[in-house]
């Protein structure tokens, strides 16, 4: 893991598949290369979904995922 500073936070708490991934992509598109997006989700599927999405999608990189009590926090970096 490298250092990062969160540029923007996306709150998709309460939303279910496919919205966490879809809204993350929409947010990422409005960011610049080097920016880091923080995604707050309650959907347990978001851990696997956002991981798979970041791995397969060009221009993004998953920096970190944290599982809290109720909230899953994901950090995505825009690479291009």
């Amino acid at each position: 893991m490298t250092d990062y500073e969160v540029t923007e936070t996306l709150d998709v708490k309460g939303q279910n598949c496919p919205m966490p991934v879809v809204k993350t992509k929409q947010s990422v598109d409005s960011l610049d290369a080097g920016d880091a997006l923080e995604v707050l989700a309650t959907d347990p599927g978001s851990v696997s979904d956002l991981g798979g999405w970041a791995e397969t999608t060009p221009g993004v990189e998953l920096i970190d995922q944290q599982e809290g009590a109720d909230v899953y926090t994901h950090y995505v970096r825009v690479t291009e």
Binding site: G14, Q15, N16, C17, P18, M19, V21, V22, T24, K25, Q26, W53, T56, T57, P58, G59
Partner: protein
């Protein structure tokens, strides 16, 4: 080309082989360049054919389309027969769930076939969708359109069902037929019939 042969008699055939190989490599490289050029911009494509218009069967094509768009895919969804109702602005908000023909339903078919049962199971499903904060069909269509998904309404079915082009969500492509769907499927990396 290097000539490491010491025996003069073998120089000719050896050099011929090397020349043939070099020519073959050139030919293959040219063909590879052609193939890569045909691959457009390298953006992956997905083509879905949506044929069903029940509430449960409207979800899979929309969820997959919006998710593929999030993955950077160029997505087309060709809606035909009852699948056309998903794109119909009014009818998409009134999609129903059948209470018969699904063995997973908690009621036997003979009860499910009674008048009003489809309405009841549909209401139950709609309540579950709302309670679970699952996106509505309308939300999924609007989001997909925002993300560049192309929704196509089969012209033959529009005529068959006597729908009007104005009945569909803004941004829906009309005036397309099976040939368009085939073309999209031939170009696509993923093809699905739902």
């Amino acid at each position: 080309m290097s000539a490491d042969t010491t025996d003069g008699a073998e120089v000719a055939p050896d050099e011929l082989d090397r020349a043939e190989l070099a020519a073959r490599v050139d030919e293959l490289e040219a063909r590879l360049a052609d193939v890569e050029a045909d691959d457009d911009d390298g953006q992956p494509k997905m083509s879905i054919i949506a044929t069903k218009g029940t509430l449960d069967m409207a979800y899979p094509p929309l969820i997959l389309a919006s998710t593929a768009a999030a993955f950077g895919y160029e997505v087309t969804v060709f809606h035909t027969f009852w699948g056309l109702d998903i794109l119909h602005e009014e009818r998409s908000k009134e999609l129903k769930l059948s209470s018969v023909g699904n063995p997973n339903m908690p009621v036997p078919n003979v009860i499910g076939a009674l008048p009003g049962m489809d309405r009841m199971t549909t209401k139950m499903m709609e309540k579950r969708i709302a309670d679970n904060d699952t996106a509505t069909i309308e939300e999924l269509i609007e989001t997909s359109l925002d993300m560049g998904v192309e929704f196509q309404a089969c012209q033959m079915t529009i005529d068959l069902m006597d729908y009007d082009e104005a009945d569909f969500y803004d941004g829906v492509t009309t005036g397309v037929g099976a040939a368009t769907a085939i073309q999209d499927m031939a170009d696509a990396d993923i093809q699905l019939l739902v």
